[in-house]
Symmetry: C2
Subunit: 549 residues, 2 copies
């Protein structure tokens, strides 16, 4: 085996010693110091599932390993049939897993290469990401340029960053380490990293909430109302990450949400709107990679939030966005000055991205609606669409106001008239008809919202004393709903029977927890025992209403 | 398979959905939600080398995997025979790798469990590290308490932090995010995380250099001189991480350096000093873990440097430390104000740790001695010890001054007398005899320093014009020596023939590069072609001498 002598122009080439304290091989390896001629190895599928992390397996006696420069945990590039993937190397001593002339890859990696077992394959040291010097400058507190952000985000989207590098980037950008123009550069680079949809319409509306309020399923009402009015509203949503349900999870109770891109565009053409999962559209893919380290670290800084939300919306082709920022003692934003700072940052970046943005600051003191969990929320949504007498009024009112704001984006609607138009569309049944058409187009799941099947196991949480409901903790209620099984168990969750300001008697039911599995119910019961999330007191203890919206 | 219902008291228990965007399973898993009764699985050694990362392998049809809560990349605890290790889970679809009732572990993990193949074993979700809330507070810019640092460092030393969490900690602590008392808390916690040696002596001396200067092998002279004087000097060193040689690499040319702890203490008792590799002593183990992410990110902030160095020295039992801070245009520290800030931080933390510290600021404008690389540096050291006429005088002078400072730690030596005492010990041959005794005690490698075998391949770098050597770039020279093979190839490196301020003729040899492999020499040749590291000019261009030491 000849060792290659080509030297990368940009990066030092270090040989690694097994004995150094350095355990992270991502950087030190040379640029393609050792390359096996095509045909030297054959590909072998190793039936090990390593999830999102590609792993390559070479036998210790393989010539490539012997030719040094390779050792366990090296970052490598595997090439076969013109495709190239990045992987982490494991060294194998058992020829029944991989032989000396085989290049083993884990299941996910094998699928990505799209060639059969036994196909010729090649392996080389992975080149370090080109944007690493810019990353180092950000870690050291420097301001980065537009080109720096573009290079970093491109490398992130191409999965060229190790977890260490990803984490360093998000932590270095956390807090006030990005100025507002840098947030714009980051957002713009995130759009450029993926697909950008073009709906061939001068007005494409969207709405988004920064999150944190359980049951807040306004999109499933705003979309049919605004689409019925005739505006183009191609709504793509995420699944829940840490909440008991995302819009995609709740919509999935009613219809298919994982739609091929062609079908999605057809539905929007025919019905003006859709309610689909955004994961298939390859919009702002760097955002999904960054989230993989932001979530475990509870990072949700203003800059990251703005870049994440606006990049997704611009990539999805929106021209007009209504953004919902709820305020409350247990919401993400807890004071009006904080909300105003966040609003200004959203507005600055949106304007630089030529996105027309209308920020609405809403009441985030308690969950919206009654149900929390996919099926319970779908029930609430359908009740509002049907003008059912039991329909939760807060969900109806908030949805009408948001829909009204979007309808006012239309040049022929006067400011202030949107709410009335939205109400007419809802009250007349046109919104329900529009929703049913969208459900049929996406593929109905035949959900019987009149008689929703809820989790068979349940427990009731009651008021310990008579009084007024003076607080409902958004986080604790969401936590209890997650423990009960939501969103994975669609019929699980929390059904609220009393809301803020209502008076209850001792022993009266505050909410019911639904679950499908005894262990889930037990988890939820123990969480309730620690804190029910409800406070019962007197009128004077009600939290200040921050906003009237 | 029964699902456990015990609930952790401190951490929320979330079930994970494969469909969420969250790719990092470290936190969400429950505390021991699913535990297999002992005897349910048997251990199987899977012959895959995953280096420092333990991997556990379960078959997809194994009851534990089916009982959900487990998926690929989950962090798990594997227990067998009273031992417990943390590992990352891979899910396997090939029963020839692991069967349904087997719990496979990678080679390193298997070795750590110290039980035979087929032994009963259990697996459960790993508990999230207890100090994570404190980590989140540091990420958000809060000041941490002594107890916070203790909890974080303990979790790090026990390998309970993921790479993401480790990186977040070091990046959040980077720059001026730690005040000097926090640096003390961190240092103290790092000492507490490992073994602390007690030499049963009131005066235990040590020396350390912050690094960055090639060829700076003063320890190998200071130890025999000061030990010959009679002070206890148990010197443990690291191997090179990014430099062409660490003290342990160079000493290994002469003698064994990986010594069992018992042997090391015996040598110090008999000979007052040793020159050993510190890796076996379990001193400040959290430091080694942190380095694994600091190195790839080029992080070397003052706080991290101080905590790393002082924790190792205090754990090694030192009572008196002389610390060498070189300054120069291509040294780690480039100006006197920067050196003074660093000195004050070292002094503050040392005083809080009851370590007597003497900081010396030295000339770091160029490499010390002539040889760079293990064998070349060992040759220089032995020439100084033998008072050979070719011995590099800068290495001799610097070593005598550092040794003098340490000798003055002795209460019966007057300030200013140390240098003379050290010189007498060196000139009389007592230092050489002491070194030979230490070499014999550690296990001599029989190095022939009179005729050192250097790498058979070499190239000479010559002066392009006549003039004075006005600059030698420490970093470029180190880089060239690394490319030539040092420290892994002990006979490789750079041999300097001209030092700063010397006049050279056009075509005169500036340095010689030695290598053992053609590819290494070619790498070095290309680096030399980009920059030789030498500047030839006039006397007026010589850099300012920052210090006379």
């Amino acid at each position: 085996m000849e060792r290659g002598v080509a030297l990368g122009e940009r990066q030092p080439v270090y040989r690694r010693s097994m004995k150094t304290a350095d355990r992270e091989p991502t950087h030190l390896p040379a640029t393609a110091a050792v390359t096996v001629p095509d045909g030297g190895l054959t590909l072998r599928r190793v039936a090990i599932d390593t999830y999102h992390e590609n792993v390559a397996y070479l036998h210790r006696d393989c010539a490539v390993v012997r030719a040094e420069g390779f050792q366990a945990l090296s970052k490598v590039e595997v090439r076969a049939n013109g495709k190239c993937i990045l992987a982490t190397l494991n060294v194998v001593d058992d020829a029944s897993i991989v032989g000396c002339n085989q290049l083993g890859v884990s299941e996910d990696a094998f699928a990505q290469l799209e060639v059969p077992d036994g196909h010729p394959a090649a392996i080389s040291q992975a080149e370090p990401a080109e944007s690493i010097p810019a990353l180092f400058r950000k870690i050291n507190g420097e301001r980065l340029t537009r080109e720096d952000f573009r290079a970093i985000v491109r490398d992130i989207a191409q999965l060229r960053y190790s977890k260490i590098e990803l984490t360093a980037f998000v932590v270095a950008c956390n807090r006030s380490e990005l100025d507002r123009e840098e947030v714009f550069f980051l957002s713009e680079a995130m759009v450029a990293s993926g697909r950008r949809l073009d709906w061939h319409a001068s007005l494409v509306v969207d709405k988004h909430c920064i999150g944190g309020i359980p049951g807040n399923r306004t999109s499933m009402l705003v979309v049919p109302i605004v689409a019925a009015y005739g505006l183009v509203f191609p709504k793509t949503s995420s699944r829940a990450i840490t909440s008991p349900a995302g819009t995609a999870d709740t919509m999935e109770v009613l219809a298919k949400v994982e739609l091929p891109f062609q079908q999605l565009t057809g539905i929007v053409r025919d019905h003006h709107g859709c309610l689909a999962w955004g994961g298939t559209a390859h919009l702002s893919p760097a955002d999904d990679v960054l989230i993989s380290v932001e979530r475990p670290l509870n990072l949700d800084s203003p800059g990251q939030m703005v870049a994440s939300i606006l990049s997704k919306k611009v990539a999805a082709g929106a021209t007009h966005l209504v953004l919902d920022i709820p305020i409350g003692p247990t919401a993400k934003v807890r004071s009006m000055p904080e909300a105003q700072r966040l609003r200004r940052l959203f507005e600055y970046v949106a304007q630089r991205m030529h996105l027309s943005l209308d920020v609405v600051i809403t009441d985030g003191r308690q969950p919206i609606g009654r149900g929390i969990g996919p099926v319970l929320e779908a029930r609430d949504v359908m009740q509002v669409l049907e003008n059912h007498p039991d329909a939760p009024n807060d969900l109806r009112q908030k949805s009408l106001r948001l829909a009204g704001r979007l309808i006012e984006c239309s040049p022929d609607v006067r400011g202030g008239d949107g709410f009335g138009i939205a109400r007419d569309i809802l009250d007349s049944g046109r919104a329900l008809a529009q929703m049913q058409a969208i459900i049929q187009a996406q593929g109905s799941h035949g959900f019987d919202h009149q008689h929703p099947a809820l989790g068979a196991l349940s427990l009731e949480v009651t008021a310990p004393q008579a009084g007024l409901v003076t607080a409902i903790d958004n986080r604790q209620i969401a936590h209890i709903a997650r423990l009960a099984g939501a969103p994975k168990v669609k019929v699980a969750g929390v059904d609220l029977r009393a809301k803020l300001g209502e008076s209850v008697q001792a022993g009266e039911v505050l909410y019911r927890v639904h679950a499908s599995y005894p262990a889930d119910l037990e988890f939820a019961r123990q969480a309730v025992a620690r804190s029910s999330g409800y406070s019962i007191g007197e009128a004077g203890q009600l939290p200040h209403v921050f906003v009237e919206f």
